[in-house]
Each structure stands twice: as structure tokens, then as C-alpha cells.
Subunit: 364 residues, 2 copies
């Protein structure tokens, strides 16, 4: 079965860094092999650097980004807890649903799609629900292209409420400052700006989040995602077997993080910013008005309205079949009305922008 | 960071088929790309062939084997349900724990480690608990090297109780007959006899298991593992996005299944059987008495007692460092007393046996 070598400019996966692909193909090791444990340790150290945190419990969860989301909620919530969740896109809605399935009372702070959520509304909700277990918000909404302002949520450190951040589409694309912002738990995904194929979800838990996990009255409802158990494999001195780590994917993540840190994290952010700015300039000129609120536009994930009369499905099909370029359609309430362009990880290159713009010019 | 090219003869992962490694390195596709959907469809068809089932809902779960276990329990159990679980090893115990975290009343049918569980005891337990939601048992216990007799559990088809099978270490190593045995739900893992790196868990659900999922009073407690949602991506005509599939791992599984079916499933079973028989003959002669009950020894996963005076850790370390050969120590109550040898997937070759035996002879 033949498949095509695509230029991946949708909402993820992006094209993996060549180093990540080489990592995948590395000779396999057992998950208890001292050589693998050393690679895992270095991977976790690199994740701390990228997350800008000193949190010891910083590790890749053995599943995709949604597994990381679930890992945060099943470990931090117990039935009856209150969870305050910002919802201005598909992934905020998903957090509400996951929290509900943990038996939590969800206080949903709804925001208009395409606009940023005012962090003061989340802080006000916490003041109204001072015993809330956590406030959760999406940093970079993949469904809308919006960057939510999250640094002010640092104020939650003065309360007993934990701050949970979805960093799926932001980590290694735009600044993420776990310690400076007082984030207690965050999750990401490998296939976005980290430039690795999908399959792992890097998470980080602050000491007070870890204390919360350790003081639970009931075990986490998920055995697979139970961080108390996982921690004794990834971080305990005894390395107690929990489940078999996805070794090849960890090799790939390790290698991509190496490439990112060699380029320099700030340089990687600047590369994403430059590519995004180029695209944001060009799209309106070509008749695609930008969708996301000005000042809150993600450089790595751009949303744009479709011009009147443009045939969404046909044009995306032509991009894919004639040029091997994948872009993303609208998700949720934007389906059929907008497109999503992702320039993430290895895809975040000037070359990718001129390729996309050239193909679009030819097709229209 | 350099790592070694190991001969993986422990309890898993085994060495991947070369085709699987080539699959990993294939150019990445998006999870909604028609070309990827075609590969996923063919992967599911191949899994049906290997599982010997016509079940439409046969798919890779985006996690390791323990995620597949959890997927079976969270989808089939609701709080208050009774689950009858056979427990004669670590993985039977794990099933009890996962079922408990789903809120189930667990009826634990304990068996001696190293001996097979009498399936009549499970059927008797079902007769004593006729409203039990499911009976679950491990086919090939990775911790003991025992093959449990599971075909007689077909009798559960005459009851309202579902039959759940752990096929982690049996699938593509010894005969697994989902439809002939009346199995309602089974899960496996890629890093054992399927000869793929760890990271996916193939599961299969019978029509009556699917009906059970559809008639739940409450949603599954896991959103990530909710088969009602996953099915609309993998099998629905609309291919509704749920989570981003681990594309590279699916490529690897697709390729390994292709290699297995090209060799022929019966030929692959015969290869595992021949390699296991060779090892079972040789180990006692070398002073390693076989641990598992005669007549129930797995060819792909052999357990043997350590000779008196043998230094467990030192000898395994020497095998690893001097010969690059990984074998497994004892797990649970066999820690320090037994070894586990896995000859699974691409590792199941005569060449692997002579290599191991030669190294052991040299080291002792």
C-alpha cells in the first residue's frame, strides 16, 4: 500500500524533525534496560527545560494529548470536587467532559470562539467557588487559533485551587513558562510544535499537585494513568515496573528535544513567530480574512475565514492530491467556514509558507 | 547518547520485525488523510485475521497493553457490576485492580502461580453469580509462563455474562480463536508476538460486547478509551475525529501484520512452538528446571527456576553487557527465584536460541 510524502500544514501532526524519525528507527531496547532508563531520564530533563520548570514529575504519558489531559484530571479530581474550566473552543469543551467523567462538578466559563478568554473571569469564578479543586484552561486553542492569556492565573497560587494548563499546541511553539506562571499541572502532545509523530503526551506536575495526588482519599479511577504508580517507574529509585513504556516513541521525543535545544528554545519560538507573521500578512491579501482576535493570534496555528464561493472540500482535496499538502478544515462551529493552517515543529519553515502560498495561488 | 543493538529475549518487548521498523520510519501522514484511513482499515482487517474473528470492532487502542485492558473494563463495566476474574499471576491481579477502579465488585478466583487455572472454576463462579457482567482471564500469563485453558469458557455464550480475554502474550504466538471460543472482548499488545515496538493495544469486541457498550446507563469513565467515541473515528462512515491516532505506530503494526500473514499465521505459530520446544529441552539439561506446569507451558514465554547458588542479577547483567542479550527476571513472587525467557515475534528464531544457550554456557 503506497502512501505519499506529505507537507503537513494542518492542525497536527506536523512533519517530524528528521532527528525524531531517526529516533524511531533506533534499535529497540527493553523498558527496564539501564540504557533506556538513561534515555528516559535525559528525555525528562529536556522536557523540564522546554516546559521551563524544575518539577521533578515531568514525563511523557504513554498516549496521545487527550491521554495527557485525562491523566491530569483523573489524578487531581475526586468525585464531588469542583472544576472550573475555561471553554472557548473544542478542547475547552473536551476538558469539561473529561472532568465530568471524573465525577466533578464542572463550572464552565464559556467564551466566544475566536476570541481570548479574560483570565479575570476564571479568577472571579474561583473566588465564587473558593474550594474548587482546580481551574483549567487551554493555552493555544487548536480549534480557533486563539492564544488565551494565562499568566495572570498565577494568582491561584495564593489559593488552594490548582492551575491546570493545556499546552498541547503551545509547547515549543510559543513561550510556555510553567514555573513563572505558577502552573500546577500541564499536558502537551508530541505531534505539534515538538515535531514528533503522535503517540506521547508530556505532562508536568508541580510539588503541590503531587501532594494532591498523594493525599487522595480514593485511588485514581484510571490504573493506566495513575501518576502515583507511574512515578515509581519513571522517577523512583527502584524503577518499579508499571506498564511497558513506548520505547521507540520515547527515542523519537528524546531526539526531537535534542534538536530543539540545540537550535535554542528562544530561536525555535522566533522561527514559529516569523513563519506565523509571514502567513498572517499573506492570507488577508489573498482573500482569507484572519479569524482569531488580533493580539491573540497563534503563529503556529492560524485560522482564516473562507472567501465567499470557495469550495472548502474540493480545494483541500486538490491541495492534498495535486501538491501533497495537508491543511485543516474548520472544527466544531467553524466547520465549512474556516481553515486551519499549522506551521509547527519541523513544518515551521519559511519554505513551507512559500510552498503553501504558491499552491493556493495556482489553485484559485 | 549511544545505545546498544540488543537481542531482546525477555518478557517483551521482543525485537521488532524489520518490516515494522521500516513502517515506523515511513513519511508521516495526518490522522484524517484518506491514505492513512486506508492503512488503518487494512490494519484492522489484518487484526481480524490474526484474532480469527469477524468482529467489525477490531482496532488498535492508542496505548500499551494495559491501556487495552483498561479499555475493556471501562467500556463493559458500570459501578456495582460484578466481575469474575481469574488470578494466577501478575496480570490477573492487575485485571482485578482495574475492574475495582471501575466500581465493580470483583470475584477473584485465585490460582497457584505456575499452574493453569481450571476453567470450570470460572464457570462455577458464574453459576454462583449469574448476573455477573463478565468473566475475565489471562490466556498467556507473562509472569508465570503458563497457558490457561480458555476454550471451555465458550459456555458463557449461553449466559448473559461476557467473556473477556487477555491475549497480550498469546496473539500471533500461539493459537487464539476469538470467534470459535466465543470471546466477547480481548486485548493484546504490539511488543510481544506481533513483533512491533510497544505503544499500541489491539482490541476486539464481539457484537454482544458492542451492544453492552451501547446500552450503558452511564458514559464510560474514560473519555480517551470510550469505544463508542473511538468507533465513530475508526469504523464510522463519517470518520469523526476523536483523538489523533499514533500514525507511525499504526504503520509499524500494519507492516508487521503484513509480514506475519505473508509467512502464514499457522507457520508463525509453528515457528514459536519449535523455538519454545528447543528451549524447553535445553534449559533443564543446563540446570534450569522449567517452572510452569507441564502441558501448559508457553513456547513464547518460558519460565525456569534458577540453579542453587546462581547470582541472578550478576548473570543477567553479564548477559546484557557482554553479549547484548536481555532476558527477564522473575516478577512478583518469583522475583530472584526464576528467569523469564521470551522468544516472541522476530526474536522467535532458532538463531536466538543457540545464541542464548551459547552465551549461558560461556558464562556459567
Amino acid at each position: 500500500m503506497t502512501t505519499t510524502d506529505r507537507l503537513l500544514l494542518g492542525p497536527g501532526p506536523g512533519n517530524p524533525y528528521p532527528e525524531a524519525v531517526a529516533g524511531l528507527a533506533r534499535p529497540l531496547l527493553g523498558h527496564m534496560d539501564p540504557e533506556f532508563i538513561a534515555v528516559l531520564d535525559e528525555t525528562m530533563a529536556r522536557l523540564r527545560t522546554v516546559y521551563r520548570t524544575a518539577n521533578p514529575l515531568t514525563l511523557p504519558i504513554s498516549g496521545t494529548g487527550s491521554a495527557g489531559m485525562e491523566a491530569c484530571f483523573v489524578n487531581l479530581l475526586e468525585p464531588g470536587d469542583t472544576a472550573i474550566v475555561g471553554a472557548n473552543g473544542v478542547f475547552g469543551d473536551r476538558m469539561c467532559e473529561v472532568a465530568r467523567r471524573c465525577g466533578a462538578e464542572v463550572v464552565r466559563i464559556e467564551g466566544e470562539w475566536g476570541r481570548a478568554l479574560d483570565p479575570q473571569r476564571l479568577l472571579d469564578a474561583q473566588r465564587a467557588h473558593p474550594h474548587a479543586r482546580l481551574v483549567a484552561v487551554v493555552h493555544a486553542e487548536t480549534s480557533t487559533g486563539v492564544r488565551n492569556e494565562v499568566a495572570p492565573l498565577r494568582a491561584l497560587q495564593d489559593t488552594d485551587t490548582l492551575f491546570v494548563l493545556d499546552a498541547v499546541t503551545s509547547l515549543a511553539g510559543i513561550p510556555v513558562e510553567i514555573d513563572a506562571w505558577g502552573v500546577d499541572a500541564a499536558y502537551s502532545a508530541t505531534q505539534k510544535c515538538l515535531g514528533v509523530p503522535p503517540g506521547l503526551s508530556p505532562v508536568t506536575f508541580s510539588p503541590r499537585a503531587v501532594a494532591r495526588v498523594q493525599s487522595r482519599a480514593t485511588p485514581a479511577q484510571s490504573w493506566y494513568l495513575d501518576l502515583a504508580l507511574i512515578a515509581s517507574y519513571v522517577a523512583g529509585s527502584a524503577r518499579v515496573y508499571h506498564h511497558t513504556a513506548p520505547v521507540s516513541m520515547v527515542f523519537a521525543l528524546h531526539a526531537a528535544l535534542g534538536a530543539i535545544l540545540e537550535e535554542g528554545l528562544e530561536a525555535v519560538w522566533a522561527r514559529h513567530a516569523a513563519v506565523g507573521a509571514h502567513l498572517h500578512d499573506a492570507l488577508p491579501e489573498m482573500g482569507f480574512p484572519l479569524l482569531a482576535q488580533e493580539g491573540h493570534r497563534l503563529p503556529e496555528l492560524t485560522t482564516a475565514w473562507l472567501p465567499d464561493g470557495l469550495d472548502d472540500a474540493a480545494l483541500r482535496r486538490a491541495l492534498l492530491s495535486d501538491y501533497g499538502i495537508e491543511i485543516g478544515g474548520g472544527l466544531g462551529q467553524f466547520a465549512g467556514k474556516a481553515w486551519r493552517f499549522g506551521f509547527m515543529g519541523h513544518s515551521a519553515r519559511e519554505r513551507s509558507v512559500v510552498t503553501l502560498l504558491g499552491a493556493l495561488r495556482d489553485l484559485r
